[in-house]
Symmetry: C2
Subunit: 241 residues, 2 copies
């Protein structure tokens, strides 16, 4: 049997998901012994996994003291959105002339689902009740699915990789409270998706590019509002040197 993967990489992937998913909150100190017990391995592969996470910017090494899950400042979060805005704009521009009818149909399907979820979220936000985290997560994933079609067609692996790693600078599945002012932001997001879809369908690369850029930047403001409602309890995990 061929070992296609190594323990260190498996552990790194699991920890990576848990950190970016918010399951392991920022500023947590990761004890090597604890992790080795949990994964039932020795400390050696654990440390290699931690090195990987450090290189990805998810944790920081403090020599002889331990590793700590990095927290991210509002400034860093905004910067991540700037990066995503530029790179998604580029990907959209490149993807536009490559779009086949099948691709466009897929975009429509994904966008329909996104639209439905958006309606649900808007209802929830308008009613002012406590938000359901799972619904928000689903909405997010549908959002990502839309952009993923563009990335796939653009066929720019490096751009995709960087943009997605900037994308993970994020909230996770923590519970949050809906607010009435989010309603219009959700609606705006949906409308922007449709505009992007139409610009691509019309074959206008430059228009699609501009729309994609504005879309990401405006979803930045959405996220900032969400974080604001989360208050001090919510801090996103993230990136950095």
């Amino acid at each position: 049997m061929a070992t296609l993967s190594t323990k260190a990489d498996d552990i790194a992937r699991v920890l990576e998901d848990e950190i970016v998913g918010g399951l392991i909150p920022p500023d947590t100190v990761l004890r090597q012994e604890t992790l080795s017990e949990r994964f039932e391995v020795s400390r050696t592969p654990v440390r290699e996994a931690l090195r990987r996470l450090a290189a990805l910017g998810l944790v920081s090494f403090e020599p002889n003291r331990g590793v700590r899950v990095r927290s991210i400042s509002a400034h860093e979060l905004r910067e991540a959105f700037l990066v995503r805005a530029e790179l998604e704009a580029l990907a959209t521009e490149v993807a536009t002339p490559k779009m086949t009818p099948d691709d466009l149909a897929e975009m429509d399907a994904v966008e329909r689902r996104f639209g439905d979820l958006t309606l649900e979220l808007r209802d929830q936000a308008r009613s002012g009740v406590t938000g359901d985290a799972t619904l928000f997560v689903e909405w997010m994933q549908a959002n990502y699915a839309f952009h993923d079609v563009i990335y796939r067609v653009a066929d720019l692996p490096l751009v995709e990789r960087i943009a997605k790693s900037a994308r993970r600078t994020f909230i996770g599945d923590r519970v949050w409270r809906a607010r009435a002012e989010l309603d219009q932001l959700y609606a705006k997001n949906d409308l922007q998706h449709r505009a992007i879809r139409e610009a691509i369908g019309a074959g206008s690369a430059t228009a699609a590019r501009a729309l994609a850029r504005e879309h990401v930047l405006s979803s930045n403001t959405l996220i900032e509002v969400v974080l604001e409602t989360l208050g001090a309890s919510g801090r996103a995990p993230g990136w950095g040197a």
Copy 2:
């Protein structure tokens, strides 16, 4: 005595420089035992360093077979330039309103040196003699110094980090042959620097942005010409997990 750094990080930094500097050519297999002898440590910190390099994308792990320095295809190289173009455009736009007179003076100083080196390179290219690698490397570093001023003023650490890691996708100090057609490309590069400088001085963020973007994209064509004269070999293994 306080250990401010760890062995693994030291080794990683050294290897990183050697790889991006071209001292260790692509497709080289790195033997753990060899490295541990060279750095006079055991294999443990060596492997941790290699994990870091893998996460940075400089090497790829092939389980139970070894690590290999990644080579880059022409397609990947072009993509890296696209990324740099977008991010440098962003950084330039952000930096423009933040520029102080001192910053502008520094840009002028760096640009003067770049202009001088450009003249030397043009002479060399026109004369058609075999190019001097060290001169080319110096020219390159002066070029980077110009852009680094912009990055510093922009104060976008994430953007800077990504752009610089895209920048390293590169040639190194391998010897190459000058060609007459490079002359105008060098001249164009120099002129573009001055145009960027002037746009920034005039406070026009959008113009500076557009110029920076075009500049990076055109230096892409320059590099492609250089690679062509090198008889570019381009092929890359998969992205190491």
